[in-house]
Amino acid sequence: MAVKNVRRSNLTRSIKGVVVYAFCVTTILIGLISLAALLFDTFQDGLPWLSLRFLTNFWSRHPEEAGIVAALAGSIWIIGLTAAFSFPLGVSAALYLEEYASKNWFTSFIRLNIANLAGVPSIVYGILGLGLFVEALALGRSLMAGALTMTLLILPTIIIASQEAIRSVPRAYREGAYALGATPWQVTRGVVLPQAFPGILTGTILALSRAIGEAAPLIVISGLVYVRFVPTGPLDSFTVMPLQIFNWVTLPQPEFRGLAAAGITVLLAVLLSMNSIAIYIRNRYQKRAR
């Protein structure tokens, strides 16, 4: 009797084990298949629309003449300016927090603050940019206002990634430099920064690649504009690739959906190459450091 019960419970346990395993495999397949479906759906719709003309033409109400050049140029401007603002600012903040800050309430307040800023929805940054840069600083709906908004958006990400890179530099390196009589800044500049640099750079590029796909804050900053020129200065009005894609998606004619998919293909290509550069730089510097 007892043996029978044990056998039965062994059987149910085996069945349960199979069920749990099957569930876990199914869930991971759902994620992977969704990714494949998303990429396949986009490429299938977009590739027929992808051409040199698409990359060099401006916005047009005739789908077969419409192109993405203004949005592509706008994205490059935004990313360039954002990188120029956010990289020095983010790295400096991380250096202060890791190398200089003493343990007091203000330091821990800054840390808590950065963690919370990372969780603020991106469209709220757009509202901040609208009130602060577009209106109060009178920058208008310009590239400058957009880039400053993006800078504030990705700053927490850059700071957190840089902090991790700086923290991974062994303590002994710093102590060795101090023992030779180096000042705090000499230690930071000559020892910590070079060691942490690949990690900082990788984190920054990944943060920038998030910014390049971000549409919500720039909707608030630039509104719906039909830009038919390549911006030549930081105070020009602009559009970016995600905004142009959004614009095409919301138009009812099916041809514009094709254009949206082609735009997505270009956007994903840009993202992929940025990520490849990040990986390349990291590997190169890591070899050198050795």
Binding site: V20, Y100, I127, A216, V249, I264
Partner: protein, 304 residues
């Protein structure tokens, strides 16, 4: 004598330089504090202007949101409801899928497979949200309309919620897996020594031990879903409505802000000002969720 004083001067300039650099780095670190103050300042300043014209009680308790049509009603509850509905659907997808994936990666998958599958799954987090919106509108909605819900409206809460669920899968799976990997191997070995099977170890030892990390990952995912804009703008519709039916068109707080920003209300008008009062509501909601998440992570954090 001369060289001595020169050395001294050099030392003082170096000291001054050090002090300046430290101040500069400190100033960079305070930018984050200034950002928070600026967010609060902008939102509160403009929202107070709005609440001079619309009663704050009507705003937070009203159940009709029609700022763009007469008669105007400014009750934010339908927008909050739209956000909650879409977030619930998203979590309904992402919680089981993310948790199952995390168990698979940390307990079942051989190391080689894990190293390939994990980064591929994390690609989902790097896809721009406008792409998810496109996917919801051009793939998920037509698929559901043809095969499951024939009477479904093109812009609906279900498609937006499902796709948002896909978007937040990696957030749950990666963070939960990290929490599971932090559970000491000796816990598992102890259970095996008592005769436990693999699934029993996973469900009764690993998950309870990693629970704080798992719950924190859910909360982070919820916060991300509340603040997501593009998917709901593209696929969720623009009708603020108190409905339990996910096949209907709805509007979230974020989608409303985007709609007004796209120029549907004249600059500076009362309708235009609503983006700040809705923005303030959105900001406070995500802040509350984030602080709760940090509290959970800290309160139940175990160091093994």
């Amino acid at each position: 004598m001369k060289s001595k004083s020169r050395a001294k001067a050099k030392k003082t300039t170096r000291k001054i330089k050090e002090k300046i650099i430290e101040r500069l780095l400190f100033a960079s670190a305070t930018v984050s504090v200034i950002t928070t103050l600026a967010i609060l300042g902008v939102l509160l300043f403009e929202a107070i202007g709005f609440f001079r014209q619309v009663s704050i009680i009507e705003f937070f308790t009203g159940t009709k949101w029609t700022p763009l049509i007469q008669p105007q009603h400014f009750g934010v509850i339908p927008l909050i409801w739209g956000t909650i509905l879409v977030t619930t659907i998203a979590l309904g997808v992402a919680a089981p899928v993310g948790l199952g994936s995390a168990i698979f990666l940390s307990e079942y998958a051989p190391d080689k497979l894990r190293r390939i599958v994990k980064p591929v799954l994390e690609l989902l987090a790097g896809v721009p949200t406008v792409v998810y919106g496109y996917f919801a509108l051009t793939f998920i909605t037509p698929f559901l309309k043809q095969n499951v819900f024939l009477e479904m409206i093109v812009f609906n809460a279900l498609s937006a919620g499902l796709v948002m669920g896909i978007m937040i899968i990696p957030m749950i799976s990666s963070l939960s897996e990290d929490a599971m990997l932090a559970v000491p191997q000796s816990f598992r070995e102890g259970a095996y020594a008592l005769g436990a099977r693999k699934h029993e170890v996973a469900l009764r030892v690993v998950i309870p031990s990693a629970l704080s990390g798992i719950v924190a990952s859910f909360i982070l995912a919820i916060s991300r879903a509340i603040g997501e804009t593009m998917i709901v703008s593209i696929a969720g519709g623009s009708t603020a409505r108190l409905t339990l039916n996910p096949l209907e068109s709805i509007q979230t707080m974020t989608a409303y802000i985007a709609q007004i920003s796209l120029g549907e209300a004249p600059f500076g008008s009362l309708e235009y000002r609503t983006i700040f009062s809705v923005g303030l509501t959105l900001f406070l909601m995500t802040l509350a969720v984030n602080l709760f998440g940090q509290w959970v992570a800290k309160r139940y954090w175990k160091r093994y």
